[in-house]
Amino acid sequence: MGLMLSCKDASELIMKRDAEELKFYDRIRLMMHLSMCKFCALFEKQNDFINSNIKALDDTVVKEFPGDSKERILEELNNT
């Protein structure tokens, strides 16, 4: 990787930045790339958006426990 990052490398650095602080050199290269590439700038925004909304999935009951299995398990618990 030279000073100019490819989109592939830039998106990977965005990913890594979620988990750890980037090296100074990588931060500069990423900043430069993001200022020039509108697609990666969008990717960055959308990645952040997904990250910050994803957690709430645990608190939103999308699927309920299926009713017939509920009955079965309750019966088993009661007979133990």
Partner: protein, 192 residues
């Protein structure tokens, strides 16, 4: 009926009635298979019944149950990952097909504008439905790594250790999972 006169079974049955939906939802996000999710929740309550005498009613029931379920899920992950290691990690699909040979976005994979307010927290059920469906499309190993990172906040190095994968494998898995998820959200949610 006071707690003293209730049998252990009765107490656990009551816990089941009030927490089964939450726990099932928690499990299915992480294992993506209805039957496995049901089994994991069932195992959780069997374990709860065995340990209810040690349960301090001062701590929160839901926290206690979630902790048991979490362990069951990790055990399940480890079983899955052992299968993967048999097949070898070399077959890992890389991120190559999203980019051309110079590393530029392929035309069809270029991120498009989303007409949303990025700072807003989303509260629509629709959004979470779609997010769930997009998570389902990830392969097993992607989803395991992804949920450990994003739902359970486990450090990258610990995920690698737990799943016995190298750090570069891990980043390929996560990178590809995110590219896939972002695109799926764009197609199914934002621009549908």
């Amino acid at each position: 009926m006071s707690d003293q006169t209730k049998t252990d079974s009765e107490r656990v049955s009551e816990l089941f009635k009030s927490h089964a939906d939450y726990l099932f939802n928690y499990a299915i996000t992480r294992v993506n298979d209805q039957h496995i999710a049901e089994d994991l929740v069932q195992d959780t309550f069997v374990a709860a019944l065995r340990n209810i005498k040690n349960f301090e009613s001062r701590s929160k029931e839901s926290t206690w149950l979630t902790a048991i379920l979490k362990n069951k899920i990790i055990d399940h992950y480890l079983k899955k990952v052992r299968q993967y290691h048999k097949e070898s990690l070399d077959d890992l699909r890389s991120v190559e097909d999203y980019f051309d040979k110079n590393g530029k976005w392929n035309k069809t994979d270029q991120p498009q504008k989303w007409h949303i307010n990025y700072n807003e927290t989303i509260e629509q059920k629709e959004f979470y439905d779609i997010l769930n469906n997009c998570l389902k499309r990830l392969n097993e190993l992607q989803r395991i790594a992804f949920t450990m990172k994003h739902f359970d906040d486990i450090k990258s190095e610990d995920i690698c250790k737990e799943l016995k994968i190298t750090s570069s494998n891990y980043w390929v898995i996560i990178h590809r999972a995110k590219l896939q998820l972002r695109k799926c959200m764009e197609v199914k949610w934002v621009n549908s």
